[in-house]
Amino acid sequence: MQPFTVLTAVALPLVRANIDTDAIIPSREMTSVSKKGLADGLFAGWRYRTVGGRDPNPDFVLNDPRYRGAAILLGGENFGCGSSREHAVWALAEYGFRAILAPSFNPIFRGNCVRNGIVPVELPQDAVAWIAVAVAEMPPAQLVTVDLEHQMVTAPDGGTHSFTIEPEAREMLLHGLDAIDLTLLRQAEIQGKRQMDKDCRPWVYL
């Protein structure tokens, strides 16, 4: 996983409540048993004129050339709700998004972000809305900075917004750690706990 420290980038506003993972990547775009090849399906239902087609819908913000190279997504309340499909996050990451700023995230989607190097930044609704307005003035110049180390977002106008993220997620993202490797270091502890637990709850162990 690619470490994340500081990122200054074009931010793409999609500040709508309850954007679900079916919208982020429709099920029909998940055609192979793979974590790759998903970027083209990102927001397919809104991004293209027809189902399954690739003719861009010029009204959708992702197709607006002013947002080319966007690596930060500005979202609404309960972002990433719905299906647990990690394909939504794989598609966002493959497209180039490294951070999402939203008032709240659906819990499974948020966990998937952390496991794939995308920083889920929770900011108050007003702050996200304000940043979206500032960005829209001239997207390629009005850049946003996400500083994970200092847990700080800098808006295009220079205004700063601090955010909180649990230490575990912050460490994983900062250093690009693999959670499985980290946990396997505790294998003896896990086996010890399982052995004890087998005596207490034998019905769990089939």
Binding site: D20, D22, C81, T183, E189
Partner: protein, 467 residues
């Protein structure tokens, strides 16, 4: 003074990782061919074995066809690859697979309780958002991504950010003809699709106690639509009676020990929740959705709301977008809205009680001309039981299709779907844009409301159906 959640958390914690994150033992991992195969393959590619294969189960439910005579070939263009990859990976990993043709096959959240895989007090995860359903049996069961599934498979644990707690107390009793689905939609309409914001929700109160296991599964199923971490209900004799003698449930003296332990799984008097809401069960009516979020629900007798009625949980943009998508205008009565199709199925409402109630509505009646009506039992076992009771004949005689078990048209994966802009009344859980087909307009409701609407050819209250 601890909540049930805190008791289960403490029992499973291997280590406190600091900052509110714990390393928890995971007792059960469930997989399906849509998101599980990729996890198993990725794990194998990394050379990591499954740590405890006997505690892992896989099924085929998401992309398999549900038409009679189905096999590995699917209507979904590349579905076969998901089936064969999952089968090979499951065999390679030595885990139990409920494959096509196995009488135990079915939707993962239907078969897990059926087989006694989920038990009170266990931690259970599955790369599927509706895993929260299984909290109905007093388990801490939650949906995860595929990478997290790999972690659980490889280590027997997960690193979990401890969620805050919320109690939803449902006082009084649900009225006649009002179902757990209606209760869940009522809560979503009142408190919004983001209402539970990552909390673990304990459903409590008289109306919840009065529910069967199947009713509880429906209520907990929609917790993910509420943005909850998961839902849980304290297990009681209703659950213990349900589980006794199920294939993977404990037997003999171990059963007695287990039940004694399970009886301790309740929130102590005076346990503190971070949040709490009360719901009056008597105020719940049969519900139907009008928009593109499960929070867009109103009583079936109501009209499409004005913006000011929903302004608490919607912006004008999302409200107008939903109305435009659904081709509805404010003030239109929901009852009487013509439909193109009716669907009974999904992990929300495809169990025996659902099918019995729907069949009771359909008996001696015919689906309206021009309405396509489909019933998909949640599991092969439900299908067999329904057929033993003659329900298949009721569905077929009324004009419903009677299918093999699976998730089917709860979602559109490129294969079968309801048509472009078709209006569908559905017992499923998501009315998102294009969820059930390209531009399909989904109205969520209970199975009996779906049945009554199929008969009427328009959205209809089953309590008001003419004889």
């Amino acid at each position: 003074m601890r909540t049930i959640f805190e008791k289960i958390w403490a029992e499973h914690q291997v280590a406190d990782l600091g900052g509110g994150t714990g390393l928890l033992l995971i007792d059960r991992v469930l997989l399906h061919e849509r998101t599980g195969g990729v996890a198993l393959e990725s794990l194998a590619a990394a050379g990591r074995p499954v740590m405890a294969p006997s505690q892992v189960f896989a099924t085929m439910d998401h992309v398999v066809d549900t038409l009679p005579g189905r096999g590995d070939r699917t209507i979904m263009p590349t579905g076969t690859a998901f089936i064969t990859a999952t089968r090979a990976a499951a065999h390679g990993a030595g885990i139990t697979l409920f494959d096509l043709g196995d009488p135990r096959q079915g939707i993962v959240h239907v078969i897990s309780p059926e087989q006694g895989i989920v038990l009170p007090g266990v931690t259970l995860v599955c790369p599927d958002s509706h895993t929260c359903s299984q909290g109905a049996l007093g388990a801490l069961a939650w949906g995860i991504g595929s990478t997290e599934a790999e972690h659980a498979l490889a280590t027997g644990t997960l690193r979990v950010r401890r969620p805050r707690t919320m109690r939803v107390t449902v006082n009084g009793r649900l009225g006649a003809g009002v179902t757990p689905k209606d209760l869940a939609l009522h809560i979503l309409a009142r408190h919004g699709a983001g209402g539970a914001k990552g909390h673990v929700v304990e459903y409590a109160g008289e109306a919840v106690r009065a529910l069967s296991v199947e009713g509880r599964l429906t209520l907990c199923n929609l917790a993910t639509e509420f943005a909850a971490f998961t839902a849980i209900i304290a297990p009681d004799d209703v659950v213990f009676d349900y589980l006794q003698d199920r294939p993977y449930a404990p037997k003999g003296t171990i059963w007695d020990r287990a039940v004694a332990a399970w009886r301790q799984l309740y929130s102590d008097d005076g346990a503190v929740f971070d949040r709490g809401i009360d719901v009056d069960a008597g105020a719940v009516a049969p519900m139907v959705t009008w928009g593109t979020s499960p929070q867009h629900a109103v009583p079936l007798g109501d009209r499409v709301p004005d913006f000011q009625d929903v302004a608490g949980h919607d912006t004008r943009e999302t409200y107008e977008r939903a109305l435009a998508y659904m081709a509805l205008t404010p003030g239109t009565p929901l009852a009487g809205l013509p439909i193109d199709a009716a669907f009974i199925g999904s992990c929300t409402n495809s169990r025996m009680e659902d099918l019995r109630r729907a069949a009771a509505v359909l008996r001696g009646r015919k689906v309206a001309a021009g309405v396509r009506a489909i019933c998909v039992p949640g599991s092969s076992q439900v299908k067999a039981q329904a057929e033993a009771e003659g329900l298949d004949r009721v569905f077929l005689a009324s004009g419903f299709e009677w299918r093999e078990a699976g998730c089917s048209m709860c979602f559109f994966a490129g294969g079968e779907s309801f048509g472009h802009r078709q209006r569908v009344v559905t017992s499923t859980n998501r009315n998102f844009e294009s969820r059930q087909g390209p531009q399909t307009r989904s109205h969520l409701a209970s199975p009996e409301t779906v049945a009554a609407s199929a008969i009427a050819g328009r959205l209809a209250d089953p309590r008001l159906l003419e004889a």
